[in-house]
Amino acid sequence: MVHAIERAAAVAGSLKETYITAYRWMLLARISEEKYASLYRGGKIHGSVFLGKGQEALSVSIAMNLRKGDIFAPLIRDQAGRLAFAETLLDSTRAYLGSRQGPMRGRDGNVHRGRPREGYFAMISHLGAMIPAVAGALLARRMKGIEGTVGVASIGEGGTSTGAFHEGVNLAAVERLPLVIVIANNQYAYSTPASKQFACRNLADKAAGYGIEGLSCDGTDLAACLETLQKAVTRAREGGGTQMVFASLLRLAGHGEHDDALYVDAGLKRTPLGRDCLERAECALLDRLGTAPKQITAWRAEAVRQVEEAVSAVQHEAAPNPDEEDWCALSSRYLIDGFTC
């Protein structure tokens, strides 16, 4: 079987460059999240930390296929895609550490962050809710006569069980919107196994029910993810309507860092699903793309340096001050209900 790298290389000359860029974002995501986890364990982060470990290949492949002006609604395991799409390490770190600077200003934290007006949507915790929001943004663009832009909404197999997922996907399908729904089947929604989420033989069978295109890939294989997302995003961009991408992989962390994930079937970790996409990408770089081990070491060191620099900078930023907070949930300040009991 021809490896996906070679297959894709036939159509894209710059594939090696793309692969390397993607790998470096994955590396930065992994290292930044390891740092956040360590800060969490040290009591430096309020709330939770959610790792995208094992899902970096899929996540980065979304961003690698998006352009400026596209829309991305990431979910909790999309650190790689967030960084590669639009977010600075500084803003990501600010959200986790609760800095008063950056877009969230201590009002919301960890993965609930974004810059919506720049096409980088800020997820709410209720799964499926972001899908109709991206669909609506694309509907608005159609009304405004803007063509050629694409929206991507991330979700997991657990989220496919929600009503919002169904409503959003169906709406996008009916309107033939250029929306790509990327489903990471990471086998567990918190502790609930995939067998309790859906009864169809293959999750990808769902696409047919909506009358949309479904594409599947091995979520642990960066080249396969890049190739599949490229196909899906290109089809959507060229007027092919709503697309759904299904990636099989295994969540290589707990639901959050508070979770030891002892419920995960140990056998699964030894199946192909349990392979670490970052390690696989590294092997591919060394074995197939001729990257020198020294080079990888240098990239890793550079990523560590960037993360340390961001964390150190943010640790010097002030925390939000309740006395300076304006406590105003409306943009129309004149309509604030001023009565306080």
Partner: protein, 321 residues
Amino acid sequence: MSITYLEAIREAQAKALADDPRVFIYGQDVGDFGGAFKATKNLAAEFPGRVLDSPLSEDAIIGAAIGAAIEGMRPIVEMQYADFSTVGFNQIVNHAATLFWRTETPCPITIRLPSGGTKGSGPFHSQNMEALYAHYPGLIVMTPATVEDAYSMLLEAVAIDDPVIFCEHKYLYYHLKAEGLPLEAEPVGKACIARPGRDVTVVAYSAMVHEALEMARELATEGTEVEVVDLRSVKPLDTDTVLASVARTGRLLAVGEAFPWGGVTAEVVARVATAGFGLLDVPPQRLNARDTPVPFHPNLWGTHRPTARAMAIAVRELLRL
């Protein structure tokens, strides 16, 4: 030319569409069909591509409106009945209402809720949702009681940069008529004195204003002067106008068509007790619907909701205290 409450809502939407290219309408059956109540009659033909039929998906309708608002549009969405907005509740209270505070991105969406009871409508086509939405920070909740307010407040709702829950009362759709559309209006957030009086303050909103006015006319024949305050919007709630009225009368009855636990009437009484306890000559009272689902049969429905008659009894008791 006389115009109904429903026609005013249609005219306000036509004007909003005509005045601002960012406005569009989205909802079930709102397109060529013109809406379940015809509130969007002919708008799809007059404004091609801007009055769109949605699937039966309240969550997705609101979610899509939020996404469109992020893109700079100003969507008006119609929930076919206020009751069905519970399916879109999550998008309203967790997404639309939090967006500006979390991300500094304004969310100018108007959510029209055909609200309240009418004969024979039963538990799922009669509800009043204003208290639920007013509970959440980040939302504005309007409850127009007149043809003029239905028109001017809907236009103001579309112009506001925040999510607005527009509770339009179905009972008023055809019953209520005015001579024409208003040229100017009181701003949202200001209550008004629907009828002045010196003996007792009745605070009401939406369809209950008309029951209160009917009661006030009846009690006037007995020599009791009831002052009726129309809240107009329940969030923001114009506490000052209510307090000023209670300062004149010393007696308060707060009336709402919604269920009795908590809600707008409880909020009004709590505010007056907190900020105007000394103004009260007697304990403040509330009158709400009964604590059951809204019944289908008119005989039951007529006693489930507060009526002019029930209000008259409550006011007479209040005067005896």
